[in-house]
């Protein structure tokens, strides 16, 4: 987009945005609608979709299931990113949760009601303990570790034949009907978005943000950033391990595919497309990325090529992400103003 010579672009908050920022938000229906509308639309769409089973068919219900799973993983990625940790291996958390619930269910016969929460906690503790020694690494180097660890765990399970080896564990207790299952995972996703957003408004969340922006000044302020990063990893692992445990019971099977690259790449793609740092963007991204990949199935193996190119276009062309772009359009308007000549 070229801007005419002698002009510059100016962005100004819309009047309604300025008014809804404070107590006047409740002055009229229009302001309330402006505030609540987008959120309400999103939640309503999510709640209505599972009811449309007769129209969409079971196939797209399953797609929604995977979408919500990837959304949870993306939220987890976004939290880690907000603390300055770039994860290239969300599959680690996913696999940890999946194997924990598989083991509890098959070995001790725990019902999913008990096994899934227990596996969520266990998986999160396990991954936090595993990553604790390398939390001091920064940027790409932390990413490399998370990239390597799921592959290593996969090889270890393959070679030592623990936890079912290459065959995995099958015959797990199924979840009740698809509609209830979908509502549970959607509810968890929404709670997670809301919880994370609130977390970052507290003083506790402020420390996380500070670690991302400048970790050394946080150390200088007397915080133990290793401990804070560990807590962040634990908090971020929770939705991801839950997703792993939940999908495992949905498929009634856990095996090596739980550490597949898909669970690492798709969440990352979601956040990049949706916009990092806002959590809702991560969720929106997942709702673009996963259905898109389903639509592209008609292209066969060319699918991954198209997919990578779409990702590339987003990374290069819209680096701040779709959510921030939409939010800007919603809250602000743009106009061209002539540049004043500076008197010599």
């Amino acid at each position: 987009m070229r801007i005419q010579a002698g002009f510059r672009k100016e962005r100004i908050d819309r009047g309604i945005k300025a008014r809804t920022d404070d107590i006047f938000a409740i002055a009229s229906c229009r302001e309330i609608l402006y505030l609540v509308g987008p959120r309400f639309l999103l939640i309503a769409a999510l709640l209505i979709f599972p009811l449309l089973k007769s129209i969409t068919g079971i196939y797209w219900q399953n797609v929604l299931m995977i979408t919500a799973t990837i959304a949870l993983l993306a939220l987890s990625w976004d939290l880690l990113h907000s603390v300055g940790l770039v994860s290239l291996g969300q599959a680690l958390f996913f696999g940890a949760g999946a194997y924990a619930t598989g083991y509890l269910n098959s070995k001790f016969g725990w019902s999913p009601v008990l096994a899934i929460p227990a596996a969520t906690l266990l998986g999160a503790l396990f991954s936090t303990a595993l990553l604790y020694p390398v939390l001091r690494l920064r940027g790409i180097y932390f990413g490399l570790i998370t990239f390597a660890v799921p592959m290593l765990l996969m090889r270890i399970i393959e070679a030592t034949k623990i936890l079912g080896g290459t065959e995995g564990i099958s015959g797990l207790t199924p979840l009740p009907g698809i509609t209830i299952t979908l509502y549970i995972i959607i509810a968890v996703t929404l709670v997670c978005v809301y919880g994370y957003q609130r977390l970052f408004e507290t003083d506790y969340g402020l420390v996380f943000k500070a670690i991302r922006d400048n970790d050394r000044s946080v150390i200088a302020a007397g915080f133990n950033i290793q401990l804070f990063k560990a807590q962040a990893v634990f908090l971020a692992a929770l939705p991801a391990t839950f997703a792993g445990a939940f999908l495992t019971h949905h498929y009634q099977f856990v095996g090596l595919p739980a550490f597949a690259m898909d669970y690492s790449v798709l969440p990352m793609a979601s956040v990049i497309i949706g916009g990092p740092g806002s959590f809702i963007g991560a969720m929106l991204g997942a709702f673009i990325v996963v259905p898109l990949s389903e639509f592209l199935r008609t292209f066969g193996t060319l699918r991954i090529v198209i997919y990578s190119l779409v990702l590339l276009v987003f990374v290069v062309g819209l680096p701040q992400g779709l959510f921030h772009y939409l939010k800007r359009k919603y809250d602000q308007f743009e106009r061209l103003v002539p540049i004043e000549e500076v008197e010599k």
């Binding site: 770039v86 001091r136 570790i145 390597a148 193996t301 590339l312």
Partner: protein, 290 residues
Amino acid sequence: MTSSVLIFGLVNSAILMLTALGFSLIFGLSGVANLAHGAIYLSSGYVAWIFLNSLGLPYFLAVPLTIVAAGLLGAAIYWLVIMRVRGLGLSEVIATFAVGVAILEFFRWMGFVTYEFNLPVLIKGSLDISGVSVDYQRLVIVGVGILMAALLWLFAHHTKIGLALRGMAQDEYTALSLGIDSDWAAALSMALGSAIAALAAVVTLPLGIISINLGYEVLIMALAVTVLGGLESITGLVVGALLLGFARTVTGTYFDPKWMEVVYLIALVLVLAVKPSGLFGKYKELEERV
């Protein structure tokens, strides 16, 4: 047994060093972690194959053409993609990774997956070294590896362009103030690194068939060697490659061959967890990594 481990360990190390050299050069000089490295390596293999088999060019014309083509590809990737996201660490990583996956999967879609895709060796036949038969191609690899390491050292320390690139790597702002163009330097390092990747492909690929998954494997190899050896010097790279190469050969000979690829991953994780600066890293690397 011992002599075979020694010889093949050396060959493996030379292969590792050659494949990692391009990646390490780009990472060390322009700070871009070029995750499309494996794709560039593999696509040069296919380009060489096309030159040789579809166009019927002679070997000594096809190889230089391939290397030039890979260099141009690297520079093009820089100008079209990386330049626009330069400095945004995460975007760089994802953009180059996406380019790499797109290239690799494009070749898979084109059907470059069968056994007919292999490159010819430079010299046929084999040599007997203390009871171990080594084909000439492996000796060529070792020779080219040593030659490239020496040439790159000379280039980086004793030519004006090499010094300019290293200056850029050490302190970008100071280099800019001395009139070195940042984008030019980075594009040049990208072109050079890709050309070296192409050379590595032409020399090492004749050992087997060209398969798509090799592209991903090469990337992990390059990452492991670079992390292990650090970026400060070519010495670190050589020692890193030697360590990993021998570790790989020993694992393959005395343990199960299926653990061979795990060696890289374990080395990567252990080095970063225990000594994040790399084996020979100086303070600058420690500062970057921790």
